[in-house]
Symmetry: D2
Subunit: 336 residues, 4 copies
Amino acid sequence: MIFLKNDYSVGAHPDVMKVLNDNNLVYNDSYGDDVHSARVQEQVREMTKQPEADVHFIVGGTLTNRTCLAAFLRPYDAVVTTTEGHIAVHETGAIEAAGHRLVELTTPDGKMRPEQIDQVAAYHNMDQMVIPKIAYISDTTELGTVYTEAELIALREACDRNDMYLYLDGARLGMALGSDLNDMTMADIAEITDAFYIGGNKCGALLGEMVVITNDELKKNFRYIMRQNGALVAKASLIAMQFGALLSDGLYENLGRHCNEMGLKLAEGIVAKGYEMAYRPESNMIFPIFSKEKTAELEKEVMFQIWEEHPDHNVVRLVTSWATKDEEVEAFLELL
Amino acid sequence: MIFLKNDYSVGAHPDVMKVLNDNNLVYNDSYGDDVHSARVQEQVREMTKQPEADVHFIVGGTLTNRTCLAAFLRPYDAVVTTTEGHIAVHETGAIEAAGHRLVELTTPDGKMRPEQIDQVAAYHNMDQMVIPKIAYISDTTELGTVYTEAELIALREACDRNDMYLYLDGARLGMALGSDLNDMTMADIAEITDAFYIGGNKCGALLGEMVVITNDELKKNFRYIMRQNGALVAKASLIAMQFGALLSDGLYENLGRHCNEMGLKLAEGIVAKGYEMAYRPESNMIFPIFSKEKTAELEKEVMFQIWEEHPDHNVVRLVTSWATKDEEVEAFLELL
Amino acid sequence: MIFLKNDYSVGAHPDVMKVLNDNNLVYNDSYGDDVHSARVQEQVREMTKQPEADVHFIVGGTLTNRTCLAAFLRPYDAVVTTTEGHIAVHETGAIEAAGHRLVELTTPDGKMRPEQIDQVAAYHNMDQMVIPKIAYISDTTELGTVYTEAELIALREACDRNDMYLYLDGARLGMALGSDLNDMTMADIAEITDAFYIGGNKCGALLGEMVVITNDELKKNFRYIMRQNGALVAKASLIAMQFGALLSDGLYENLGRHCNEMGLKLAEGIVAKGYEMAYRPESNMIFPIFSKEKTAELEKEVMFQIWEEHPDHNVVRLVTSWATKDEEVEAFLELL
Amino acid sequence: MIFLKNDYSVGAHPDVMKVLNDNNLVYNDSYGDDVHSARVQEQVREMTKQPEADVHFIVGGTLTNRTCLAAFLRPYDAVVTTTEGHIAVHETGAIEAAGHRLVELTTPDGKMRPEQIDQVAAYHNMDQMVIPKIAYISDTTELGTVYTEAELIALREACDRNDMYLYLDGARLGMALGSDLNDMTMADIAEITDAFYIGGNKCGALLGEMVVITNDELKKNFRYIMRQNGALVAKASLIAMQFGALLSDGLYENLGRHCNEMGLKLAEGIVAKGYEMAYRPESNMIFPIFSKEKTAELEKEVMFQIWEEHPDHNVVRLVTSWATKDEEVEAFLELL
């Protein structure tokens, strides 16, 4: 079987495993009070040019989003998201379970527009309604698209004029940074947002994500919220040392770039064979349109996900990872 | 000023005040363990032909909805509602604050369709998504429309085939029952739904709503949830005795009928003057379309609410109540 | 039957009913935007000498406590209370359901001690523990005892040195103010606490409590939390006008004084007959110790509550209200 | 520095690292739908003689406790725990944040007594109080003590007669099973409890815990609650394969036994030097009493935790792990 179902189904990049193996029997203090955590926190502060940033280590993406939004919001504050936003679809109501309403926006490509923020803010104008207080975006988005700096700055300005925070889900930040369409550094993203997370699970780590908080208002007592949500892991040093490896020598971005190359090669090949794409291929997740018959045929040889079922065709999601090989892409294309 | 802003801005119908005055200095046991509560509970069981129904007294509508949905659902269960549903718009995220995601449906008239329930259930097909577990509807709806028995039965069947409960917000149940478009008794409504509430605040009571639970699965420990949500009032007897008055001699329905007559008279007069309606007038809430200038002019003489602001016109909400007088309707029409 | 079970089992004082009757058919704007609310808010600001105080109207005590604590605290903040505190025992975990841990303190008389606050604050010294952030006290306490100004100031100072708020549950504030042991005005209480509520349900109102917030940090967006918790009633004017009557001509305090006189007369009579008291009688709730036989005998003629069951005796709670008559007290004493 | 601060500060046992390395680049399906998860689930069902048990993989202990209790309880249900229970002290109110009150019991040794369960159940006898619905115990306890089978059965019977569940926190289950005082197999524990978890983090795993649910009532939709709480990790296979290694050839129990041997050797040495113990040493956590001076002296050479500060002495917690070496114990003893 060719595996194109997702980007989190092998372990870690060898460099990451190496650091875990090398440090395996060394004592480290717990809950982030260790040398690895301290060093990586410093590394992130330098990379982001945010010497005062708070950096925290959490195991998974849903837990990270839930913890951050629970920390950043008061009970009546709502989260603005696109309808495809991970928190809106695939987290079993985690944000609502933490007490917050989501306000959902329809977009053609998974990217939020600044005028949508203005409209939402204008509509919620009385105390019988929630307060839209944070814009949640993902880069790359859940449709594989990539934000430009101009787009992100425009969202930032919309948030500012509506007294809202901007939070970026970076589950696939490596792919965003490694995209040809991207024109931002990690420092730019840190500068433009109030908080974001650097995804590890889908970007070469064994397990782990890293939260970066730059807005002072959002920093206070964050570790209490982490602990209360079960997000403060005793062995935080294990996550830290993985990011230590990933953030060295451009590995993080390079892995993202490889993901994208494999994804775009796949897309080109599919288009060359005469198929259409439901969304523009920009990174490692691509969405070709296949007939019902072709879908069934492919399912015999390939693991992938049907994204949308339409009466006479499917939109299929194909995902490449840092571990995807050229041969796998070619093998898939031969099936068409 | 002519008051057409809402239907909850005078006190109680004189018959209701009388029973409160008559019983004012009599000792009653608390939290529903009193003779008034017992008698009204029995009265409701008879009216609804549900001898096993549980009947509870709560002070307000938002608190009633929040308490019921918190009681009926597990954390991962979601509530299906129309986009106009009171819980979706005007309760400041109360249901999400209780931990539940809302799944919202767009309709032309505020009435949920059975095929929408099927679609929602089909879409939520994995444990990364919430479980749509209860359909929340209002009768009359937030757009003043009225369900027919056939419509309600069709929703019931859709709920049944999708393992969902059906809950009816009866904040304006008096208006529904008193509508010419209605073809149900309170017993029909009790039979078709799993739980509903009989609104008092907008239907002649001083303060109070009455929850009726007919599905055994939903009855257990309901008083614990009430207490925990601050909905178990010590002086429940006060609510009970008000409903005792309202449910006697058809007063409840008669007050609803009067509300509707005033509303429809208003609508007819407005249409006769050449204005259009945004939604079909069916009860005591009507939605005429006025120019910006006309709106501004009316605001000097009338208290009402602008429902929707469009670039070149407004949809305005006019609401009549059991206390609205013919003269008030006529005075309004003279302003056009 | 003689009714000594609680102080919330008749309706309202006649002056309160009068104002409700007089205003019954007058239109009032809703959710506190009405003339009664405005006037009573001003009245409270004057009485408390807090021209900037925020004043809100809520129907019941549990809902008031839940709403206030949900509004004042962040998720990791805990509430410090005595073990008898209403929130700790008789609200079915309402505060925990709002997400907050209670830290409970044992006392001989229901009154919190400042050194206990210091100890609690010192103990909670790491981010694996909650932050004790608010001290919850009741005056009169759940054991009928009354705080002095010196005691309340000492608690205030303990809160200040430990970065905590002080919140006073005034369900029986009328009894506290009307006690001979009390040496505070309502202005003193407003000055010393950060927020408190003036109880109506047990002090002559039909239904209603009034929250007074003096600390600016606690005021922001309080109405949103009210609405979300179902505590923002449409007909807030009804609560306001009741307090208008209660706060005029010293009625509120006078009713409290009458409650206490009846309670203390009862206590004196019981002691004169040779019975002991479990707690010092200071207001309208007294706690005599009766044998099992005597308890059973009294239960035939009197409605009251057994507070503590011991192997060979009971502690019984007897409660007088503003409506209790001399004859009722005398009738009870004759039973001993 | 000698490290005796806790048992979770090195990585994983080499056998565990080996399986992670060996499988690192193999594709596995996600969220537990993989061969490792399936095989380990089967292995656990066999070991526990519970062919119908549900087995789930979660990353950490707090998250496991929070997820389980959120899943097993209705909002008004409370958790009974000892005052030392991990959920009561060191999880920053995680269970309350999930909406549940804790009822805390004082014990001399961290072990709950059946008669305490009876007392708690008898006391909570009205709908103004929560329902104690689950007994939470830890084995080994937070004071390092170990339950016997007779004790656990007695708790089970107390739970049964009071309609309560029994849940066992097995963060240190390896140490419990590897204790000379233990007379139970994992099958016995599975039989006696309704659900428990097999701790990995402190027992040789890199990261991970494993929940075993044997009571059918508690199984339904557990994965939804996991997802909602951020506890459903994409790479569940990584946790599964670690437990595959730990549960093979008795490794799990052997590591626990080693922990205990080191702990008891330490305790014996300390006692031999004339020091007293605050709690009876039964496993890998021991609690010697040291003077203030001695504590300060030791802090220069050893990492450990001060458990209780008394005016003239400290109770100190020393913890050995599966990685603790004889030399480290001896080096510590030489410091006395």
